[in-house]
Symmetry: C2
Subunit: 107 residues, 2 copies
Amino acid sequence: MGLTKSHIFTEDQNTLADIFRTLAHPGRIAILQHISKQQGCICNDIVEEIGLAQPTISQHLKELKHMGLIEGEISGKKVCYCINTARWTEIQALINNFLLRTESNCC
Amino acid sequence: MGLTKSHIFTEDQNTLADIFRTLAHPGRIAILQHISKQQGCICNDIVEEIGLAQPTISQHLKELKHMGLIEGEISGKKVCYCINTARWTEIQALINNFLLRTESNCC
DNA sequence: TTGTTATATTGCAATATTACGATAATAAAT
DNA sequence: ATTTATTATCGTAATATTGCAATATAACAA
Protein backbone atom coordinates (compact mmCIF):
# COMPACT_ATOMS: atom_id res chain seq x y z
CA MET A 1 0.00 0.00 0.00
CA GLY A 2 2.81 2.47 0.76
CA LEU A 3 0.92 4.08 3.61
CA THR A 4 2.36 3.61 7.08
CA LYS A 5 -0.31 2.59 9.61
CA SER A 6 0.72 5.23 12.14
CA HIS A 7 -2.49 4.91 14.16
CA ILE A 8 -1.65 1.45 15.44
CA PHE A 9 1.57 2.65 17.07
CA THR A 10 2.22 4.83 20.09
CA GLU A 11 2.94 8.54 19.79
CA ASP A 12 6.50 7.91 20.97
CA GLN A 13 7.08 5.28 18.33
CA ASN A 14 5.77 7.57 15.60
CA THR A 15 7.81 10.51 16.86
CA LEU A 16 10.99 8.46 16.91
CA ALA A 17 10.32 7.11 13.44
CA ASP A 18 9.73 10.66 12.16
CA ILE A 19 13.02 11.84 13.62
CA PHE A 20 14.87 8.90 12.11
CA ARG A 21 13.16 9.46 8.75
CA THR A 22 14.33 13.07 8.71
CA LEU A 23 17.91 11.87 9.24
CA ALA A 24 17.56 9.01 6.75
CA HIS A 25 19.14 10.74 3.77
CA PRO A 26 22.86 11.23 3.13
CA GLY A 27 22.16 14.67 1.70
CA ARG A 28 20.48 15.84 4.87
CA ILE A 29 23.29 14.33 6.95
CA ALA A 30 25.77 16.22 4.76
CA ILE A 31 23.81 19.47 5.12
CA LEU A 32 23.74 19.15 8.91
CA GLN A 33 27.46 18.37 9.06
CA HIS A 34 28.28 21.27 6.76
CA ILE A 35 26.19 23.75 8.72
CA SER A 36 27.74 22.64 12.02
CA LYS A 37 31.29 22.89 10.67
CA GLN A 38 30.97 26.64 10.07
CA GLN A 39 31.70 28.94 12.97
CA GLY A 40 28.63 31.12 12.70
CA CYS A 41 25.62 30.66 10.54
CA ILE A 42 26.20 29.73 6.99
CA CYS A 43 24.29 30.72 3.90
CA ASN A 44 23.62 28.83 0.81
CA ASP A 45 26.95 27.80 -0.47
CA ILE A 46 25.41 24.53 0.64
CA VAL A 47 24.31 24.09 -2.93
CA GLU A 48 27.91 24.54 -4.09
CA GLU A 49 29.27 22.26 -1.38
CA ILE A 50 26.86 19.39 -1.99
CA GLY A 51 26.24 18.16 -5.50
CA LEU A 52 22.48 18.57 -5.60
CA ALA A 53 20.40 21.14 -7.44
CA GLN A 54 19.20 24.22 -5.61
CA PRO A 55 15.52 23.18 -5.46
CA THR A 56 16.54 19.81 -4.03
CA ILE A 57 18.65 21.40 -1.31
CA SER A 58 15.83 23.82 -0.55
CA GLN A 59 13.47 20.89 -0.14
CA HIS A 60 15.86 19.06 2.20
CA LEU A 61 16.34 22.24 4.24
CA LYS A 62 12.56 22.50 4.54
CA GLU A 63 12.34 19.00 5.99
CA LEU A 64 15.14 19.68 8.47
CA LYS A 65 13.41 22.93 9.44
CA HIS A 66 10.09 21.16 9.80
CA MET A 67 11.60 18.71 12.28
CA GLY A 68 13.14 21.68 14.11
CA LEU A 69 16.72 20.52 13.58
CA ILE A 70 17.76 23.77 11.92
CA GLU A 71 16.61 27.36 11.82
CA GLY A 72 16.88 29.85 8.97
CA GLU A 73 17.43 33.52 9.54
CA ILE A 74 16.81 35.87 6.63
CA SER A 75 19.63 38.34 6.09
CA GLY A 76 19.14 40.38 2.98
CA LYS A 77 18.66 38.15 0.01
CA LYS A 78 20.45 35.33 1.74
CA VAL A 79 19.22 32.95 4.41
CA CYS A 80 21.52 31.84 7.20
CA TYR A 81 20.90 28.39 8.53
CA CYS A 82 22.09 27.03 11.82
CA ILE A 83 21.50 24.05 14.05
CA ASN A 84 18.74 24.55 16.60
CA THR A 85 20.85 23.40 19.54
CA ALA A 86 17.99 23.22 22.03
CA ARG A 87 15.98 20.99 19.74
CA TRP A 88 19.09 19.06 18.81
CA THR A 89 19.78 18.23 22.46
CA GLU A 90 16.16 17.21 22.90
CA ILE A 91 16.29 14.85 19.93
CA GLN A 92 19.65 13.53 21.08
CA ALA A 93 18.02 12.61 24.39
CA LEU A 94 15.06 10.92 22.69
CA ILE A 95 17.32 8.84 20.47
CA ASN A 96 19.71 7.93 23.29
CA ASN A 97 16.84 6.97 25.52
CA PHE A 98 15.50 4.66 22.84
CA LEU A 99 18.90 3.12 22.13
CA LEU A 100 19.68 2.53 25.80
CA ARG A 101 16.27 1.17 26.76
CA THR A 102 16.22 -1.18 23.82
CA GLU A 103 19.64 -2.62 24.48
CA SER A 104 18.86 -3.46 28.07
CA ASN A 105 16.87 -6.56 29.00
CA CYS A 106 18.29 -8.34 26.03
CA CYS A 107 19.31 -11.95 25.75
CA MET B 1 13.53 10.98 -9.87
CA GLY B 2 13.21 9.12 -6.56
CA LEU B 3 16.74 7.81 -6.65
CA THR B 4 19.10 9.00 -3.94
CA LYS B 5 22.44 10.12 -5.39
CA SER B 6 24.49 8.06 -2.93
CA HIS B 7 27.69 8.35 -4.96
CA ILE B 8 28.10 12.06 -4.26
CA PHE B 9 28.22 11.47 -0.50
CA THR B 10 30.83 9.91 1.75
CA GLU B 11 30.63 6.31 2.88
CA ASP B 12 30.01 7.48 6.44
CA GLN B 13 27.13 9.68 5.37
CA ASN B 14 25.55 6.84 3.43
CA THR B 15 26.06 4.38 6.27
CA LEU B 16 24.46 6.73 8.78
CA ALA B 17 21.53 7.40 6.45
CA ASP B 18 21.04 3.65 5.99
CA ILE B 19 20.98 3.09 9.74
CA PHE B 20 18.49 5.89 10.23
CA ARG B 21 16.35 4.58 7.37
CA THR B 22 16.16 1.17 9.01
CA LEU B 23 14.89 2.81 12.18
CA ALA B 24 12.54 5.15 10.32
CA HIS B 25 9.38 3.12 10.74
CA PRO B 26 7.18 2.93 13.85
CA GLY B 27 6.58 -0.75 13.20
CA ARG B 28 10.28 -1.55 13.26
CA ILE B 29 10.70 0.59 16.40
CA ALA B 30 7.85 -1.38 17.99
CA ILE B 31 9.37 -4.70 16.95
CA LEU B 32 12.75 -3.77 18.47
CA GLN B 33 11.13 -2.60 21.69
CA HIS B 34 9.03 -5.75 21.92
CA ILE B 35 11.99 -8.04 21.34
CA SER B 36 14.08 -6.22 23.93
CA LYS B 37 11.31 -6.33 26.54
CA GLN B 38 11.41 -10.11 26.69
CA GLN B 39 13.92 -11.71 28.98
CA GLY B 40 15.39 -14.22 26.57
CA CYS B 41 14.88 -14.44 22.88
CA ILE B 42 11.39 -14.08 21.61
CA CYS B 43 9.51 -15.93 18.94
CA ASN B 44 6.90 -14.70 16.59
CA ASP B 45 3.99 -13.62 18.67
CA ILE B 46 5.24 -10.31 17.28
CA VAL B 47 2.49 -10.55 14.71
CA GLU B 48 -0.11 -10.80 17.49
CA GLU B 49 1.48 -7.98 19.47
CA ILE B 50 1.72 -5.51 16.60
CA GLY B 51 -1.26 -4.96 14.32
CA LEU B 52 0.38 -5.77 11.01
CA ALA B 53 -0.06 -8.80 8.79
CA GLN B 54 2.44 -11.65 9.01
CA PRO B 55 4.13 -10.97 5.64
CA THR B 56 4.56 -7.34 6.60
CA ILE B 57 6.20 -8.20 9.92
CA SER B 58 8.39 -10.73 8.16
CA GLN B 59 9.54 -8.04 5.75
CA HIS B 60 10.35 -5.62 8.58
CA LEU B 61 12.27 -8.34 10.42
CA LYS B 62 14.25 -8.95 7.24
CA GLU B 63 15.27 -5.29 7.08
CA LEU B 64 16.28 -5.26 10.74
CA LYS B 65 18.26 -8.45 10.20
CA HIS B 66 19.90 -7.01 7.09
CA MET B 67 21.17 -4.02 9.08
CA GLY B 68 22.38 -6.47 11.74
CA LEU B 69 20.19 -5.05 14.49
CA ILE B 70 18.60 -8.41 15.24
CA GLU B 71 19.39 -12.06 14.82
CA GLY B 72 17.04 -14.96 14.26
CA GLU B 73 17.68 -18.41 15.63
CA ILE B 74 15.65 -21.27 14.23
CA SER B 75 14.15 -23.48 16.91
CA GLY B 76 11.88 -26.09 15.47
CA LYS B 77 9.20 -24.47 13.39
CA LYS B 78 9.63 -21.20 15.24
CA VAL B 79 12.29 -18.54 14.91
CA CYS B 80 13.56 -16.72 17.96
CA TYR B 81 14.65 -13.18 17.38
CA CYS B 82 16.89 -11.18 19.63
CA ILE B 83 18.84 -7.94 19.54
CA ASN B 84 22.40 -8.27 18.28
CA THR B 85 23.94 -6.40 21.20
CA ALA B 86 27.41 -6.10 19.71
CA ARG B 87 26.04 -4.52 16.56
CA TRP B 88 23.62 -2.45 18.59
CA THR B 89 26.45 -0.95 20.62
CA GLU B 90 28.36 -0.26 17.43
CA ILE B 91 25.42 1.56 15.87
CA GLN B 92 24.77 3.41 19.10
CA ALA B 93 28.36 4.69 18.93
CA LEU B 94 28.00 5.75 15.29
CA ILE B 95 24.79 7.65 15.99
CA ASN B 96 26.12 9.26 19.15
CA ASN B 97 29.29 10.29 17.42
CA PHE B 98 27.27 11.95 14.68
CA LEU B 99 24.94 13.69 17.11
CA LEU B 100 27.79 14.98 19.28
CA ARG B 101 30.03 16.13 16.44
CA THR B 102 27.20 17.91 14.70
CA GLU B 103 26.08 19.82 17.73
CA SER B 104 29.49 21.32 18.36
CA ASN B 105 30.85 24.36 16.49
CA CYS B 106 27.35 25.69 16.12
CA CYS B 107 26.25 29.31 16.23
C1' DT C 1 1.36 -39.63 4.47
C1' DT C 2 -1.57 -35.91 5.68
C1' DG C 3 -2.50 -32.13 8.26
C1' DT C 4 -1.14 -28.22 11.02
C1' DT C 5 1.63 -24.43 12.49
C1' DA C 6 5.24 -20.95 11.79
C1' DT C 7 7.75 -18.19 8.80
C1' DA C 8 9.44 -16.58 4.20
C1' DT C 9 8.77 -15.17 -0.53
C1' DT C 10 6.31 -13.38 -4.52
C1' DG C 11 3.55 -10.17 -6.85
C1' DC C 12 1.11 -6.23 -6.92
C1' DA C 13 -1.43 -1.87 -5.69
C1' DA C 14 -1.07 2.43 -3.29
C1' DT C 15 1.44 5.97 -1.32
C1' DA C 16 5.96 8.34 -0.29
C1' DT C 17 10.38 10.13 -1.48
C1' DT C 18 13.88 12.07 -4.37
C1' DA C 19 15.39 15.06 -7.86
C1' DC C 20 15.15 18.83 -10.88
C1' DG C 21 13.45 22.21 -14.61
C1' DA C 22 10.61 26.05 -14.73
C1' DT C 23 8.99 29.69 -12.39
C1' DA C 24 7.84 32.82 -8.61
C1' DA C 25 9.17 35.81 -4.89
C1' DT C 26 12.19 38.89 -2.56
C1' DA C 27 15.88 41.98 -1.87
C1' DA C 28 19.93 44.32 -3.05
C1' DA C 29 22.52 46.80 -6.85
C1' DT C 30 22.84 49.63 -10.93
C1' DA D 1 12.65 50.79 -13.06
C1' DT D 2 15.62 47.10 -14.48
C1' DT D 3 18.76 43.83 -13.60
C1' DT D 4 20.97 40.47 -10.74
C1' DA D 5 21.37 37.22 -7.01
C1' DT D 6 19.31 34.18 -3.62
C1' DT D 7 15.89 31.21 -2.07
C1' DA D 8 11.21 29.05 -2.32
C1' DT D 9 7.46 26.75 -4.69
C1' DC D 10 5.17 24.09 -8.35
C1' DG D 11 4.79 20.38 -11.37
C1' DT D 12 6.29 16.17 -12.76
C1' DA D 13 9.03 11.90 -13.71
C1' DA D 14 11.34 8.12 -11.61
C1' DT D 15 12.33 5.21 -7.94
C1' DA D 16 11.41 3.50 -3.08
C1' DT D 17 8.54 1.99 0.61
C1' DT D 18 4.59 -0.03 2.78
C1' DG D 19 1.18 -3.48 3.21
C1' DC D 20 -1.07 -7.62 2.25
C1' DA D 21 -3.23 -11.71 -0.32
C1' DA D 22 -1.62 -15.70 -2.21
C1' DT D 23 1.62 -18.99 -2.17
C1' DA D 24 5.82 -21.50 -0.88
C1' DT D 25 8.69 -23.65 2.49
C1' DA D 26 9.89 -26.11 6.56
C1' DA D 27 9.16 -28.60 10.77
C1' DC D 28 6.54 -31.02 13.77
C1' DA D 29 2.21 -33.92 14.94
C1' DA D 30 -1.23 -37.38 14.22
